[in-house]
């Protein structure tokens, strides 16, 4: 090989090596681009990736249930499934912690109201209701300016505004001042205080007490005859005077609706509202089932006569179950009246040791536990992951007492009217809200509290500001 041929071969070899190297790099680039530019099949593209997407997809897969149905005890799963097949519906879910309740999706595009009516007509069904959409706000709008009343003892009302006074936890309150930026209540609605009566002459309550409208005739009762119910009802001695001879009912009334911004004493959860005293507890703070029933029947009768009774506040109870009392509370439900009841003060689990009326399985009952100023379940309070709905401040609560006085008291008795008061604020803002929706809105308006985890249905403290969003 001459010198020229040798140089040509070397040059060719170098070119070939460079070409091979370039081709190898091209191949690597091609693989990389292919990986980057891979065309995703449609079914793969739709596949959810994040936990949120997976949850949404699973819900969409199952369908949103339209109605919640409670079948009577003894109705078997096979019977329910056969029933669903017959009326072309689909079981979406059996609800945990609610025995007998089943979430059902209608496949015929009927309205939820029609589906509810269809189920209520079935002999196997105890109860049916629409599946109400609940939207839980992430947080209260921070742009809202809190409204602070000038009632001189407001600073002591930690339940409404907890600034850490007397060793409390700042913010462990019901966010009343934020709620008041939306509404301070309405005197178009009535909260019945079923208790020891109310001192309707108390200067911090007087303007918020219900009076029978002049156009309305006195109450007629088959047994009692005519009762001149100018200020409410007294079942203890069946007189027309529901004056408080104990103090407990006056205290509860003040929590719900002591007049706000009147330069006197305290502010209620509602600055304006109408309080109807229903006295059935005697001067010692005790009463019986018959008198409680008479008083509830009175409230229902007045509702039917056009008085806008929306809430009954019941800060009392016992461990004795009464079918008659349960039935009259159900009658109140059928007349669109919420029934807020104290969970009890025996430091027991109501799931195992029920307390009545708070443990009655009636759709309008809201059972209330008590919290202290540090967001701890009160040492005396009953609880119940299945049977106690919500908690509210109930220790060292300042409110109205007999003869223009104010006193601090503790108990689920005091937590109950806090929740009744928040319910009244909701009704003030949404006058046409149904009792079912009112209860659901209440239960969706809580701040989660660590101490309540596993102790109540919601695990939270009622928040008035959230309730009004």
């Amino acid at each position: 090989m001459n010198r020229n041929n040798f140089l040509i071969h070397v040059a060719l070899a170098i070119v070939l090596i460079l070409v091979a190297a370039f081709a190898g790099q091209l191949n690597r680039w091609r693989k990389h681009w292919k990986a980057q530019m891979r065309i995703v099949p449609a079914e793969e593209k739709a596949r959810p990736q994040t936990p949120e997407q997976i949850a949404i997809a699973e819900t969409e897969e199952r369908g949103t249930p339209e109605v919640l149905v409670k079948f009577k005890s003894g109705v078997s799963s096979q019977t329910i499934e056969a029933l669903e097949a017959r009326i072309n519906d689909r079981i979406v879910d059996r609800i945990e912690n609610a025995p007998g309740w089943t979430a059902i999706d209608d496949m015929d595009d009927a309205s939820p109201a029609d589906v509810v009516a269809q189920y209520r007509a079935l002999p196997e069904v105890e109860y049916a209701e629409e599946n109400f959409a609940i939207e839980i706000p992430d947080a209260v709008d921070s742009s809202i300016e809190p409204v602070r009343p000038h009632d001189p003892q407001f600073e002591e009302q930690w339940a409404l505004s907890n600034s850490g006074q007397r060793g409390g936890k700042e913010g462990a309150d019901i966010s009343a001042m934020l709620a008041w930026a939306t509404t301070t209540g309405s005197d178009d609605l009535i909260v019945a205080v079923l208790d020891t009566g109310v001192d309707y002459t108390h200067e911090d309550l007087l303007a918020n007490m219900w009076l029978r409208p002049a156009s309305m005739t006195p109450y007629q009762d088959n047994e009692l005859g005519t009762v001149d119910d100018v200020r409410g009802f007294n079942a203890v001695d069946n007189t027309s005077d529901p004056m408080d001879d104990n103090g407990h009912g006056t205290h509860c009334a003040g929590i719900i609706g002591a007049v706000g911004e009147n330069d006197l004493g305290i502010a209620g959860v509602n600055w304006k509202v109408k309080i109807m005293p229903l006295k059935f507890l005697n001067a010692g703070g005790s009463g019986n089932v018959k008198d409680a029933i008479e008083a509830i029947n009175y409230a229902i009768a007045r509702k039917k006569a056009g008085v806008n009774v929306r809430i009954i506040s019941a800060s009392w109870g016992s461990t004795q179950k009464s079918r008659a009392l349960e039935d009259v509370i159900r009658k109140a439900y059928e007349n669109d009246i919420l029934f807020v009841a104290a969970a009890g003060n025996s430091s027991v689990n109501n799931d195992r040791q029920p307390h009545y009326p708070s443990s009655y399985n009636v759709p309008n009952v809201v059972s209330v536990a008590a919290l202290d100023r540090n967001d701890q379940l009160a040492s005396f309070s009953n609880w119940g992951a299945k049977s106690v709905a919500v908690a509210a401040p109930g220790v060292d609560i300042l409110s109205t007492w007999l003869q223009n006085a104010y006193e601090e008291k503790s108990g689920t008795s005091m937590a109950t009217p806090v929740v009744s008061g928040v319910a009244a604020l909701i009704v003030a803002e949404h006058p046409r809200i149904s009792v079912d929706d009112l209860r659901k809105k209440l239960l969706a308006s809580t701040d989660p509290i660590v101490a309540l985890k596993g102790k109540t249905v919601t695990g939270g403290r009622i928040n008035a500001a959230k309730a009004l969003e």
Binding site: D195, T196, N246, H248, H251, F280, L281, A283, G284, G285, S286, G287, N288, V289, A292, S315, W316, G317, S318, Q320, S322, A342, G344, N345, S346, S347, F380, K409, S410, G411, T412, S413, M414, T416
Partner: protein, 89 residues
């Protein structure tokens, strides 16, 4: 009703129940107490009461070697768990 009134009334009530002389009933202890409700945690059957913590007195009496508990506040006196039942006195 004062604490002293409540103690005296409790002794009289127990003497009547036991059909014995009040002098044979001794006072074991009397202490301030917080009761869970307005029936002082001693509700009678079918009795409803306000769920407010109530300050009062726990009065322990004894007779013939047996112990008895009364509960009282300014409004009322109750005998607690006497033969399995509670009584308003």
């Amino acid at each position: 009703m004062t604490k002293e009134d409540a103690i005296e009334k409790a002794r009289t009530d127990l003497a009547q129940r036991l059909k014995t002389d009040a002098s044979k009933i001794s006072e074991s202890s009397v202490e301030d107490a917080d009761f869970p409700d307005m029936a002082l945690g001693a509700a009678e059957e079918d009795e409803m009461s306000g769920m407010m913590m109530t300050r009062g007195w726990r009065i322990r009496l004894s007779a013939d070697g047996r112990a008895y508990e009364y509960r009282a506040d300014k409004n009322q006196l109750r005998l607690y768990n006497y033969k399995g039942k509670n009584y308003r006195v």
